[in-house]
Amino acid sequence: MKHLPKHLRPRWRYLAVGLETWPDADLSRGAFQRAVWYAAGNLLGDAGSADADLRVLQFSFAGGTGEALVRVRRGEVGPARAALACVHEVDGHPVGLHVRGVSGTIRACEERYLGRRAGVPAERRVVFENDRRRGYDRDGNVDVAGPADFTGATELDLESEST
């Protein structure tokens, strides 16, 4: 179909979203997009969700952190932010999510808010609550593996290893 004249094209805003999970989670773009649609549909309803028209344009994720670029219609940034805040689980993995910023172009959004890769966490033995455990250390944030699930900690919470 012939593309629309400029004044009829929708105006967009681009949201830079930072993601965080426990180190064992693996997210895909499709799963995140589904979670976003699901959250928007549930919170804003079909009408509001169609208005916001949330779409995940870029997605990168590795080793428990990631970032995404989400497109939203201009004027719907507030509802979009609310819908994103309600994404708490993707594919059964709990997800922490934070809107880093909003831009008018993809390029500005990338340059300002994206590309801060935290790197893959280093795995090491740690002592947490008098117990030797496996820890995933990224930048001073340590996710400590427990018998059932992880505990979020930092360097401050770890005890020095006494041999």
């Binding site: 507030g78 609310a82 994103l84 805040a85 708490h88 709990p94 979020g152 401050l156």
Partner: protein, 229 residues
């Protein structure tokens, strides 16, 4: 703006991790509400660069046991919250001046009416708007939570009762930035200023209580001044 978090072992992340994440999200402080957590608050404050408030949340099955805990824990903590959830507990909390915050009043079978909210206003007990189910529940459970939230909001506005807002995060992954909470509040019918005020209230409360617990404070309006003898 402050957020009140459930720190390890009550939640899944330690107070230090909460503080770090909250600092990145633009919070000015976190209120650590946990009974068993005894982190080194000073070290966390220094490491994260934001305020960390020593608080306790009393979770008791009935007012008799909650009452004992209030008496025992009040002197040791800056902030004292009582978890509601039954009508008797809600009533106990709003009638007790020593309680700072009544949390989750509408959870489970708990309910609140104009009498309780007026009592809360008289005694200065903050009523908590719990955004947790709005963010993390779905379907009927969420509808119910939203309905309760609306009822509570209308009562609180009518009685001009003090309130706080929290997302009740149990791990650093549940934390949401203030702007996100304000946006969610707007969608579910809260004024942006109300949510902002509710998040600030934690900080105001902490400051007030620290002042009261400081050495110079004797009673309201009576203080030890900085005078030479």
């Amino acid at each position: 703006m402050y957020e009140a978090v459930h720190a390890h072992p009550d939640g899944e992340s330690t107070a230090a991790r909460f503080a770090r994440t909250a600092a990145r999200m633009g919070y000015e402080g976190v209120v650590v509400r946990a009974r068993d957590a005894t982190p080194d608050y000073e070290a966390i404050r220094e490491a994260s660069g934001i305020d960390v408030v020593d608080a306790v949340e009393i979770v008791a099955p009935d007012p008799e046991r909650a009452s004992g805990a209030v008496g025992g824990l009040r002197p040791d903590h800056t902030l004292l919250c009582v978890r509601g959830g039954t009508n008797r507990l809600n009533r106990f909390a709003v009638e007790n001046e020593r309680v700072d915050v009544l949390t989750r009043p509408m959870a489970d079978e708990g309910d609140v009416n104009h009498v309780l909210v007026n009592r809360a206003a008289e005694n200065g007990v903050r009523v908590e708007f719990d955004f947790g189910p709005v963010l993390r529940a779905t379907g009927g459970e969420r509808v119910q939570a939203l309905r309760n939230l609306r009822k509570l909001r209308e009562l609180v506005v009518d009685a001009d009762a003090p309130f706080v807002v929290s997302a009740n995060p149990a791990s650093h992954l549940d934390l949401r930035a203030p702007r996100e909470l304000i946006a969610v509040g707007e969608v579910v019918g809260f004024d942006p200023d109300t949510v902002r005020a509710g998040l600030r209230e934690w900080g105001t409360l902490a400051e007030r209580n620290r002042h009261r617990q400081s050495e110079s404070f004797i009673g309201p309006g009576v203080e030890r001044g900085r005078y030479e003898e």
